[in-house]
């Protein structure tokens, strides 16, 4: 399995997690499957929206973009290009930064943990790490091809 396939699968799982939280925001999911009640505290806090947009919706958009880039990178001319991996790394880096901020809020400001948010933070970190590994692999592959052409 290539790094883009791993990213696509992780992004799909992240998409469902965000979708679940967003649908809950819209009142379509009853109570959150959480156990401790911390999810509801986090999701009903004032930090559950960012610039007027529900954070969960931002997650849906972000994961959908990462899924789209990962899948596009498996086909046609994009399969041989390094651009999709770079774009994926950039998107995931934004996600990691934003998740880091949200995790800080849970720990230090809201004082409650939402397991779905923590899962999402882990997923986007996994996508970032996978993309970085993919970029390094591509760089090494390009270097060895250059050496082969030169020798």
């Amino acid at each position: 399995m290539t790094h883009r396939m791993v990213s696509a699968l992780a992004a799909l799982v992240g998409l469902f997690v965000s979708l679940y939280l967003w649908l809950w925001h819209l009142g379509l999911m009853g109570s959150l499957a959480c156990g401790t009640g911390g999810c509801e505290v986090v999701q009903t806090s004032r930090y559950a929206t960012f610039a007027g947009v529900p954070v969960a919706l931002l997650g849906v958009i972000g994961y959908a973009a990462m899924l789209g880039v990962s899948l596009a990178g498996l086909h046609g001319r994009w399969a041989a290009s390094r651009a999709p991996t770079r774009l994926l790394a950039a998107l995931a880096a934004l996600g990691v930064l934003f998740s880091g901020y949200l995790t800080y809020l849970e720990a230090e400001v809201i004082h409650a943990w939402c397991r779905w948010c923590v899962s999402s933070a882990l997923i986007v970190t996994a996508i970032f790490v996978t993309a970085v590994i993919g970029m390094r692999g591509q760089a090494q592959g390009a270097a060895s091809r250059e050496q082969g052409a030169g020798g």
């Binding site: 799909l12 679940y20 009853g30 009640g37 505290v41 004032r46």
Partner: protein, 242 residues
Amino acid sequence: MAGRGGLKNFYLLLGVVVVGGVAALVYKSQTRGSATAETGPMPVVAADSVPPAAYVIGSDTAPVVIDDYSDFQCPFCAHLAILTFPDVRTRLVNTGIVRWRFHDRPLNIHNKTLRAHLAAACAAEQNKFFPMHDQIYFHQGDWVESNHTDDLLRDYAKGIGLNMDAYDACVKSAKPMARIQAESRRADQMGINSTPTLLVNGRLYDSGKRGLGFDDLKAYVDSVAAVVRAEREEERTAAAKK
């Protein structure tokens, strides 16, 4: 780069995840289980008269009366207050369809809820219960976890423009506490032991089954309002015939 066989297997796996994810979402949306399952099973409340509430908004001629039994520390109540109640207020209360009555129902599993109910009652003495209600629910995560709960509640009171001398005196005397606890005991006797519990024209609204979203509630309110209007029309016609 993946071969054709590898891609096929990958899309198969992706398909399995999609089917599993969609199935889980559909299942969860249809079993809106424990939205009110804060404690114990759903209460059964007869459609008899409900005790008067301390905090009321809406026209007294509204065809639908909703009695909201809520606890300020309950996350599900915060969900109702933050996500549903603003729409209820603008689209149902302000339009004369619903009269909303808030009843104190502090649950004894919550360690700080009584302080919040007291703060809201003190705001009510200055006719600002609902602004304080909003503040308390919007900041639930803050004051519940804080070691300075009373200070935070005081900040919210100040923020909504209360006379702070009167507020401080009210909190210090804890005068409304006896009424809050009496109302809570009455609710207990009625079998209301989970929050939020909504009674619509005295009948239990099954939020576990119907959901607590605005659209869920509005659909039910519309059906009740239609029946009430038809009954009122019949009464008017009968009175005119006499």
